[in-house]
Structures are given as structure tokens and as C-alpha cells.
């Protein structure tokens, strides 16, 4: 396959970036999209150029570190998939592929396609945990949790923290990310004692970081690699109201 990559290059957060075109031959359909970029980087090295900085780690769709805007969509043309799971067979021979970093005020660009998502860690820091020290746990089966409750918690807990929801949202809202974590913990009995402070603190941090508010377009759930539903956002809002009244 022959592909023209049109890639955003930016040396550092404060310098101006620009698109550059790279024509790459001898790609194959079996290659993953990231392997195609690896291949391009090898070519650049041999031409004495600096490599394109892009992120990845597990390359099996679970760590959440990869994340690129491809042809105007988070993680590329398919729904509910990470960039590392995208293969070149999804593109046409001769195609031009536009490659950009996540775009959101709360995710400043570090270099080329790499952005800073530490805002997510700071939201987690504000209560996405159960305050119980190691060594204090009761016998596991003494906490009974119905399968339906446990399954629902798991659906929300599956979030990989990639940031596609933010990147694709016209408001750059982190509501899907934040709500998934709140609902995971607040729907379980272990999470009840801190349920109200968790919602209030995490949502406050979300606003503090500069993420926008949700206007229910549903764009996020389309791109979420784990298919986390926007019903989570409605549920978070209900929990927020409850916390304001009773918290």
C-alpha cells in the first residue's frame, strides 16, 4: 500500500505547529496503524530527521495510552476501538490520512501527537477511591453484591482513560470519564460512605481543569473503546443533585 500521512508536527508546547506530508510506500494491510507510523519513523531516522512523537504502550487496547485523531475522528474510522487496534486494511491504497493529536484545552500538546492528560489523574485524586487502608478488609463474601449491581459497576469501571471522549466532544467535556468512575464506586456498597464527597470533589476538579460541560450529543460513547454509555452522565448528574441535597 502507498499512503500519504498528513501529520501534525509541533516541537514543544509553546511553539507553533504545522501539518507535514509524508508519503510512505510498501505498507501492508496486516500492519497496525501504529506499526505504519513505526515504519515511517524508521524511514525518517535513515533520512537523518527527527522521529514523530506519538504515544502507545500495551498495543492491545487496554492501557489507554495511545490516542490520535485520525481523519477527523478519535482513534480512527471505527467505533469503539483504540488507535492500536486499528489496522491498515481499514484504509484505501493511495489514501491521504490526516493525523492530529487530541484537541482540548485541558490536554495541552507536549510534542507532535503527544498530549498531557494528567488532568485525568487529578480528577481521580479527588476521590476516585475507597478510603480503607491495606489490612483493614473484612472477609470478601461478607459483602454481598447482586450480579446485576456488580455487572453494572463493571460496565462503568471498564474505562481505560484514553481521553477519546474529551477529544471528540465539541465541548471538550470529561463528563463520560468522570461519571464512569463515580458510578463504578458509588453503585457498590463499599463506595457508599464517601459517595457524596466523591461526586462533589471529582466534578469540581473536572471544572477546575478546564473541561467543558456535557450537552448530550452522544459523540463520546461512539468513540469510547469500551462502549461506556452516556447514561452514566445522566446518572452522575442525579448523584450530584442527591449529593447537593443530602451530602
Amino acid at each position: 500500500m502507498k499512503i500519504t500521512f498528513r501529520i501534525w508536527r509541533q516541537v514543544s508546547p509553546n511553539e507553533k505547529g504545522e501539518f507535514k506530508n509524508y508519503e510512505v510506500k510498501d505498507l501492508t494491510e496486516d500492519m497496525s496503524f501504529l506499526e505504519a507510523l513505526d515504519h515511517l519513523n524508521e524511514i525518517l531516522v535513515l533520512k537523518n530527521e527527527k522521529v514523530i512523537a506519538f504515544e502507545y504502550d500495551c498495543r492491545e487496547g487496554i492501557c489507554g495510552q495511545c490516542g490520535i485523531f485520525i481523519n477527523g475522528r478519535a482513534h480512527g474510522p471505527h467505533q469503539n476501538m483504540t488507535t492500536c487496534q486499528l489496522h491498515m486494511r481499514s484504509f484505501q491504497d493511495g489514501e491521504t490520512i490526516v493525523v492530529e493529536p487530541w484537541r482540548a484545552k485541558a490536554f495541552p500538546i507536549i510534542k507532535d501527537l503527544i498530549v498531557d492528560r494528567s488532568a485525568f489523574d487529578r480528577i481521580i485524586e479527588q476521590g476516585a477511591y475507597i478510603s480503607a487502608k491495606t489490612g483493614t478488609a473484612p472477609e470478601a463474601n461478607s459483602i454481598l453484591i447482586g450480579k446485576d449491581v456488580s455487572d453494572k459497576a463493571m460496565d462503568a469501571a471498564a474505562c481505560i482513560g484514553c481521553g477519546a471522549c474529551v477529544a471528540t466532544c465539541k465541548n471538550s467535556s470529561a463528563a463520560l470519564f468522570t461519571s464512569a468512575k463515580i458510578n463504578h464506586l458509588n453503585s457498590l456498597p463499599q463506595g457508599h460512605p464517601e459517595q457524596h464527597s466523591r461526586v462533589l470533589d471529582m466534578t469540581a476538579q473536572m471544572a477546575e481543569e478546564g473541561f467543558g460541560y456535557c450537552s448530550y450529543t452522544g459523540a463520546c460513547e461512539v468513540e469510547c473503546p469500551e462502549g461506556i454509555s452516556i447514561i452514566n452522565i445522566a446518572e452522575m448528574n442525579a448523584r450530584y443533585m442527591k449529593a447537593r441535597f443530602f451530602g
Partner: protein, 636 residues
């Protein structure tokens, strides 16, 4: 050098308790004055950092990823073992201990392995309390499933994302302690050297991966939780960033490296499809609970899987190992697959795979049940291969996976450098020559949450009276200078080949000669080949960009330089062990029907290697079996 594992007195059941009774304690006011560095934020690192901070220590925690939540524990799918005996099927701490020891082919310590089993049950309590959404029955109790190498159901799981859920729980606890300012996080920061002062680990040199700045960090103890090193094979189930550099730097500073060649080759990964491939995706071993593994009975059969009738399929695991069948341990399942593939019965585009078939299970339990058990794995399979495994069998193939070897540690998880600890996959302790499925998350967690926070006091209590070493100490300056020289050397070569080129070369040699089966001639050849690769790397590699900026190519080059040396040690280790045990299969030592032939008389020891000016010196920790008689490991 004599290796003292410091095993406590008493019967197996009493050892850990005896240890705790006799261990030094530190009062809470003094803990505040002590500083600990934790490198790595996987299950063991994040668990240890959070727990040490809860106890009152001041913790600095490092990871190379953008966030602690990315660590590769996240990718473990199938589950975590615990001797809860919830299924009332005859499980016990003793049975779990025995299964683990036997699974490791009697090449691990009795006391360590027993402690692993002993602490497994409280660990499930711990994670449940942290909000891990483990699978449950309708009545609300926890569910178990089977895993390879055992005949009881003791594996707990959260769909096919158990590692993710446990890691996120640990990461949450870590950030709970970041909020209290007891942990300082350094993401995107990679350890490049260990600083040893008067024989004690006192800090690290690390590179800020964003600015490229080289920084010094001092502490009273250093904990390595840096995971496995199977990326030495290049193609593996590991994350691309996983590396052996922290271990290798510690090794070069004096920490002995134990059983480096014990590498688990996982039987159920997706097959390699091209040269450009960067990674082999793992499909959870739990699939072997319901999937049946087979190849056609006819060599180079060109028919589609669904067109091959039942009596023309060879369910070779069920045939060779009737009592364990598809749940034979990983080393045995991988070797059996290799045997069939090498004999010409492999399937798929490159004839390098075998089938994993769910037809019978779907007929028996229905699609919905199978979807409930493995839905996300089937989905993942479809995303990567484009094939619907509900309709036709999966194609799977063996892939480099887990490092049983690692830094030598004693019962306290301390390496041979005082004050340097290794926890989780990066140590050698509990798994012997082969790890059982779902014991990896267990070991990482138990090390990090329960063991290290209890044993580190014993050392730090004596450090209290010593003044803290500052980063101005000459040893810091010396280590920093060496790191900078190494970086400048790599950048100045300006050769003609890329880092990936050399990694592919190294991977080919390692996979060919030091993976599922090994022999003397091949290993000797491999050592020479890797030495040549090392020479070529240091004279002909090309790395663009600078040291003082974000430079992903430089990161790769530094990791590969260490992998190349580690590769030589792995082959050296495999060469000295004239026996077959667990994952280490030497072709010269096998039974008539192709099973591993262990040589207990001469090889019942842990090999521990000392780095001496580029050469490796072997030390032996003899393994004594006081409570269990090593038996021939049979799964037939």
C-alpha cells in the same frame, strides 16, 4: 559470596508469622523521616507505594508512562488465584502451595511459595473492599473459574479485564496518597541508574522524558517494581515500553540476577502475521476452560477449519494429557503446540498457529453464556483479526510472556544490594521454572501490599540512626556522569541502521535459540551472534534528535542496549543448566515421549549471576525441600 535467603524458623505454616514477630518495628513519628523510592506503578509498585505511604513513609514513585494507570499489569486478562475454597472443591493453602511449587517444577523456595498461597485469601478481601467488581453469582457471592495446571476452581476474575480492575484499584489508592502529599508522583520519568553508597542503595538517576533532563533522587531505600523483560524477544505479549533497564543497571551495580533464562512462553497469543509486527496480543488462558485446542490430522491441510470433520481433528492436548487436557500448564501447552507446528501441522497464513475452538462449548452452554464469560475477548479478537470467533475457531500461537527470572531476592524481597528491593515480576522468587496462570497478579499484589511493607521496616529501622545521603554525594555525581556519557555515546554514533533493526535481529536470535526449546550448540552460537549484534549496535546505530528534549528514539536505544547484554546472560544461564525443568527445555534432556527430564541431583539450585567486568560469575542457592518431596511433574 554466600547466598542467605534468610528463611525464618518453624513449620511452613509458622514461618511468616515468626518472621513478623521477630521483625524490627519503627514508630510512626520516625517513619515520617524515612524516604523510599518506588520505581514502577504496576500492581506491585502502586500497591507498595500506597501502602508504605499509609504507614507513614515519605514515598517518591516513578513511571515511564504518562500515567501510573498504564502499567502493564493492566493487560492481564484472566484472573487472580486465591485459596478461599469457596467452591468447596478441596482447595486449601497447602494445595495451592503444592500446585504452585509443582507448576514451577520444584525450582522455587518452599517458604516463599507457601507465603504466596497463605496471603492469597486476604488479598481477595482487600481488593473486594477497594471496589474491584469481581464476577458474582446472582445471590451476591463471588464466582471462581479454573485455570491451567490445577484441578480446583480458585481463580477470581472481573470479566476478561482482571488486571485492569486490580491495577485501577491500586492506582486509585496511590492517588489517594498523592492527595495526602505522602506520595510524590513522577510520571514520564525513567530510571537510568542506581546509586549505591557504601554498599547500600541510596537513590536513582532518572531522565525526565519530556525535557530530557537528568535528575538525581536520594532515599533511604529503593524498591524496584519494574516488571518483566520479555521484550528482549522483541515480539512478546508485553507493552512496547516494558524494559529490563532498571534491573540491568542494578545488576551492574552489584545485584545478582537469578535464573534469567526462565521465560514463560504463553500458548494462547495471536500469531505473528508479518515482519513489521511490533507485538503479539495475548488471548487469556481462561479461554482454555471452554475452548478446545486442535490441529488437522493431515499435514498442511488446506481446508477451512469448519470443513474439517471431527474425526480428522487432532485434539493433541487431550490426547497427550488426558487428565488435564486443554488446561495443561502453559509451558507444556506451548511446547505441544510447537511440536505440532514444527511437524508440519500448523495452520493459518504462515502455518505458525493452532486452532482454539468454541464450537462444543457453544453447543453445550449457548452463545449467551460464552458471551458472558469471554465477550470482550471475542470482541478484541474480531477487532484485531476481523474474524468472528463465534462462527469459526480462533487461531493462536505461542508468544514470549512472563519472566520467572529476575533479581535474586531473599525472604524479605531484598536483593544482594542492601536497601534495594525487587517486587513483582522483576524478582525471582515464587514461580520457579514456570508460573501458573493467574499467579502473576497474585504475586505482584502480595509482594506490594503485604510483604514489602512488613519487611522494609527491618532494614529501615537500622537506617534511622544514619544520616540521609544527599544528592550531592560523589556517588550521585559519578552515576550521573556515566548516564550522560552513555546517552552521548549512543547519539554520537550516527550510523546507518535504526534501533528497531537491531531489536529485530536480537529478537530473532533469542526466539530461535533461547525460547521454547534450547540446545548447547544453539545457545553457544546465540551468544556469539548477540555479541556481534552488540558490536554492530555500538558502531552503526543511528539515533536522531538530542538528549535535552523529548526523544522517543533515544529511549528505545537505551533500553535496547541493555536488552542486548541481558540476552547474553539469558543464553549463558540456559547453557549452564544441563537439565530440562518447567519452561526451560533443553533438547538434550528429555524423556522418550518428549517430556522434560529434570536432574535434581545436580541442578536443584537457583542460579544467581554476578556481573564482573562484562563477564558473569555463577553463584548457587541450593534448594532444600523440607516439607515436600519433589516429584516428577506429570499432567498425563
Amino acid at each position: 559470596m554466600s547466598l542467605d535467603a534468610k528463611i525464618p524458623e518453624g513449620n511452613l505454616e509458622e514461618k511468616w508469622r515468626n518472621y513478623q514477630i521477630n521483625s524490627e518495628l519503627i514508630n510512626p513519628a520516625n517513619k515520617k523521616k524515612l524516604h523510599v523510592i518506588v520505581v514502577g506503578t504496576g500492581l506491585s509498585g502502586a500497591g507498595a507505594a500506597a501502602t508504605l505511604a499509609e504507614l507513614g513513609y515519605d514515598v517518591q514513585c516513578f513511571c515511564y508512562q504518562d500515567s501510573a494507570r498504564r502499567a502493564h499489569s493492566v493487560a492481564a486478562q484472566g484472573g487472580i488465584n486465591a485459596a478461599k475454597n469457596y467452591q468447596h472443591d478441596g482447595d486449601s493453602v497447602w494445595r495451592m502451595f503444592y500446585d504452585t511449587l509443582k507448576g514451577g517444577d520444584f525450582r522455587s523456595r518452599e517458604a516463599n511459595t507457601y507465603r504466596l498461597a497463605e496471603l492469597s485469601a486476604p488479598l481477595i478481601d482487600h481488593f473486594t473492599q477497594q471496589g474491584v467488581p469481581f464476577a458474582r453469582e446472582y445471590g451476591g457471592v463471588l464466582v471462581n473459574r479454573s485455570f491451567g495446571g490445577v484441578q480446583v476452581q480458585r481463580t477470581f476474575y472481573a470479566r476478561g479485564q482482571t488486571g485492569q480492575q486490580l491495577l485501577l484499584a491500586a492506582y486509585s489508592q496511590l492517588y489517594k496518597m498523592v492527595r495526602t502529599k505522602k506520595v510524590t508522583m513522577f510520571p514520564r520519568t525513567e530510571m537510568l541508574d542506581l546509586v549505591v553508597v557504601d554498599g547500600k542503595a541510596k537513590g536513582i538517576i532518572a531522565r525526565d522524558l519530556v525535557s530530557g533532563a537528568i535528575k538525581r533522587f536520594a532515599a533511604d531505600a529503593v524498591v524496584l517494581a519494574t516488571g518483566g523483560y520479555s521484550r528482549v524477544f522483541r515480539l512478546s505479549t508485553l507493552a512496547i515500553g516494558c524494559n529490563g533497564s532498571a534491573l540491568w543497571r542494578a545488576h551492574k551495580r552489584g545485584a545478582l540476577f537469578a535464573a534469567p533464562s526462565f521465560t514463560q512462553i504463553h500458548p494462547t497469543a495471536l500469531p505473528q502475521s508479518s515482519e513489521a509486527q511490533s507485538k503479539l496480543t495475548l488471548m487469556s488462558e481462561s479461554l482454555r476452560n471452554d475452548g478446545r485446542i486442535w490441529v488437522p490430522k493431515i499435514r498442511e491441510d488446506t481446508r477451512k477449519a469448519n470443513d474439517i470433520p471431527e474425526d480428522e481433528r487432532d485434539y493433541y492436548l487431550e490426547r497427550r494429557y488426558p487428565s488435564f487436557g486443554n488446561l495443561a500448564p502453559r509451558d507444556i501447552a506451548s511446547r505441544a503446540a510447537k511440536e505440532r507446528i514444527d511437524a508440519g501441522f500448523g495452520i493459518g497464513k504462515l502455518k505458525n498457529a493452532v486452532y482454539l475452538d468454541f464450537k462444543n462449548a457453544i453447543e453445550k452452554f449457548g452463545v449467551e453464556t460464552i458471551k458472558d464469560r469471554y465477550g470482550n475477548l471475542f470482541k478484541m479478537y474480531k477487532k484485531i483479526t476481523g474474524v468472528d470467533a463465534y462462527q469459526e475457531p480462533m487461531q493462536i500461537s505461542p508468544a514470549a510472556h512472563f519472566s520467572m527470572g529476575g533479581l535474586w531476592v531473599d525472604y524479605e524481597l531484598m536483593t544482594t544490594i542492601e536497601g534495594l528491593y525487587a517486587i513483582g515480576e522483576c524478582n525471582f522468587s515464587d514461580h520457579g521454572a514456570n508460573r501458573l496462570g493467574a499467579n502473576s497478579l497474585l504475586q505482584a499484589s502480595v509482594d506490594g501490599y503485604f510483604i514489602l511493607p512488613n519487611t522494609i521496616n527491618n532494614y529501615l529501622a537500622s537506617e534511622l540512626k544514619n544520616e540521609q545521603v544527599s544528592t550531592e554525594h560523589p556517588e550521585f555525581a559519578k552515576a550521573e556522569k556515566e548516564v550522560m556519557e552513555n546517552i552521548n555515546r549512543v547519539l554520537s554514533i550516527n550510523g546507518t541502521k535504526t534501533v528497531d533493526h537491531f531489536h529485530r535481529e536480537l529478537g530473532k536470535v533469542m526466539w530461535q535459540e533461547c525460547a521454547m526449546s534450547r540446545n548447547k550448540k544453539g545457545l553457544e552460537k546465540a551468544i556469539q551472534q548477540i555479541k556481534t549484534i552488540r558490536e554492530e549496535f555500538w558502531s552503526d546505530v543511528k539515533v536522531t534528535g538530542h538528549a535535552n528534549e523529548m526523544n522517543t528514539e533515544l529511549e528505545k536505544a537505551l533500553r535496547l542496549a541493555d536488552f542486548i547484554e541481558l540476552g547474553i546472560l539469558m543464553c549463558t544461564d540456559a547453557l549452564q543448566r544441563n537439565e530440562s525443568c518447567g519452561a526451560h527445555f533443553r533438547e538434550e534432556f528429555q524423556t522418550e515421549d518428549g517430556e522434560a527430564l529434570r536432574m535434581d541431583e545436580n541442578y536443584s539450585y537457583v542460579s544467581a549471576w554476578e556481573f564482573m567486568d562484562g563477564e558473569f560469575k555463577l553463584h548457587k542457592e541450593e534448594l532444600t525441600f523440607e516439607f515436600v518431596q519433589p516429584s516428577i511433574r506429570s499432567y498425563k
